[in-house]
């Protein structure tokens, strides 16, 4: 059989004293230390979990910071753009050199054509030499005829005329030889010009193809570089957002500090009540003054919501009032400079 004790003096005139209240007091005396232990355990477990969670969050934020730093310093965006630009410059130089070579070939063709023009003049000159030789031969033939009419007196002149005809014949043969050689040279020059033009056309086409291919490769490289740069930027931006979200979550974890203080106060009050109740049970102290006790309890509060809960919950009549809601960290904090 439980010993029925009267813990509090009932001071409220509008609350009638009922026998079951004394039983409730007795239950409280036994339950108080247990409740306080339960609450303290819950407080410690919450604190441990929040501290661990907060440490994890801090670790994630630090790692994201490191990753973002590394990404910003070693992303290679600038290096890639520089390499692309350097590649463009180098390849432009190569194309310039190839174009210069191609142009030199055209100059060569022009010079060869000019040489061919000179050779046709030479052919004309050789033909003139042949013509002169023919006329000289005719002249020498007439001279020999005239020398024969003169008889013995013209014998010497006839010899001279014969030699002149021999020279004219030799001149005509030489002229023919020159004409033939010039024809050979012209033929060779025409072949050279043809070959040169064929090579030049092929070279021009190859040059054009090379330029297109180089532009394509550079374009693809540029697209790839831009895509990489965009991906890198997206990654950086998303990491930044995640980091901010985690940092904000850590701020919200401050609720543990308030909850811890509220629970500590409840545990403290319970222990205090337990000690006093034990003293009353032992008959060392008279029944407690409830009103004085409640007033004293106000001084142990550290947050506004405790005081509000106390004020709104002090009445024992009527329905139980709703507790003060949770306090979330909003845009700005309350700060006062002294």
């Amino acid at each position: 059989m439980q010993k029925v004790v009267r813990l509090f003096k009932r001071v409220s005139v509008d609350v009638p004293v009922r026998p079951e209240v004394n039983v409730a007091d007795a239950v409280c005396v036994q339950a108080l230390p247990i409740w306080s232990k339960q609450i303290e355990t819950a407080r410690l477990q919450t604190e441990e979990a929040i501290v661990a969670l907060s440490a994890r969050f801090a670790g994630i934020v630090n790692r994201l910071d490191l990753a973002l730093d590394a990404s910003q310093h070693h992303s290679g965006d600038a290096d890639l753009a520089q390499a692309l630009e350097a590649g463009r410059r180098e390849l432009a130089r190569v194309m310039e050199s190839l174009t210069e070579i191609h142009q030199s070939r055209s100059t060569l063709a022009t010079q060869i054509r000019s040489l061919a023009a000179h050779s046709s003049e030479l052919a004309k000159m050789a033909s003139e030499v042949e013509q002169i030789a023919f006329q000289t031969n005719m002249l020498a033939l007439n001279a020999a005829i005239e020398a024969a009419h003169v008889g013995e007196a013209g014998r010497g002149f006839a010899v001279v005329a014969h030699e002149v005809r021999n020279l004219a014949t030799a001149s005509r043969e030489t002229g023919k030889g020159i004409t033939e050689k010039i024809a050979l040279v012209n033929e060779s020059l025409a072949k050279i010009i043809d070959t040169n033009e064929t090579v030049s056309v092929r070279e021009g086409k190859a040059l054009h193809d090379s330029e297109n291919r180089i532009q394509n490769v550079l374009g693809q490289f540029g697209d790839m570089s831009a895509s990489l740069s965009r991906s890198s930027e997206d990654l950086r931006r998303e990491s930044g957002v995640i980091k901010d979200e985690i940092a904000e979550s850590m701020v919200q974890l401050q609720f543990q500090d308030r909850v811890g203080q509220i629970m500590s106060q409840v545990v403290g009050s319970m222990r205090d009540l337990d000690q006093r109740a034990s003293a009353v049970v032992r008959g060392e102290q008279p029944a407690l003054d409830a009103e004085a006790y409640m007033t004293q309890m106000i001084n142990t509060y550290t947050t506004d919501e405790q005081r509000r809960n106390h004020q709104s919950g002090i009445s024992h009549t009527g329905p139980v009032n709703e507790p003060t809601g949770t306090l979330k960290v909003q845009g700005g904090s309350d700060i006062e400079y002294f």
Partner: protein, 121 residues
Amino acid sequence: MAKRILIVDDSASVRQVSNMALTRAGYEVIEATDGQDALGKLAGKINLIISDVNMPRMDGISFLKAVKAHPNYKFTPVIMLTTEAGEDKKNEGRAAGAKAWIVKPFQPQTMLDAVAKLCLA
């Protein structure tokens, strides 16, 4: 050279949030778990102190009074960072020599603004 800030709070999560915000802003941070612990860490250069009010062993107001009585740290600015929003406690802090009173829960930027302002002074 980085400025050194002493954070005094019995809540590990509050110390962590404050430490992270200050470290990221370029400050060097020392942590203490209550007033008693913080007194033992008053050594060398400390540019500013951020202290909770309700702590075991030695509360924030007693610690603040001890700092203001310390020959080397009496001019070190102290910011109180607490769940206490009541005028009585605030006046107690003001009378003891605190420079600012921030009510928890707080945005780290508010704390950083106050630290930057008081570190310059």
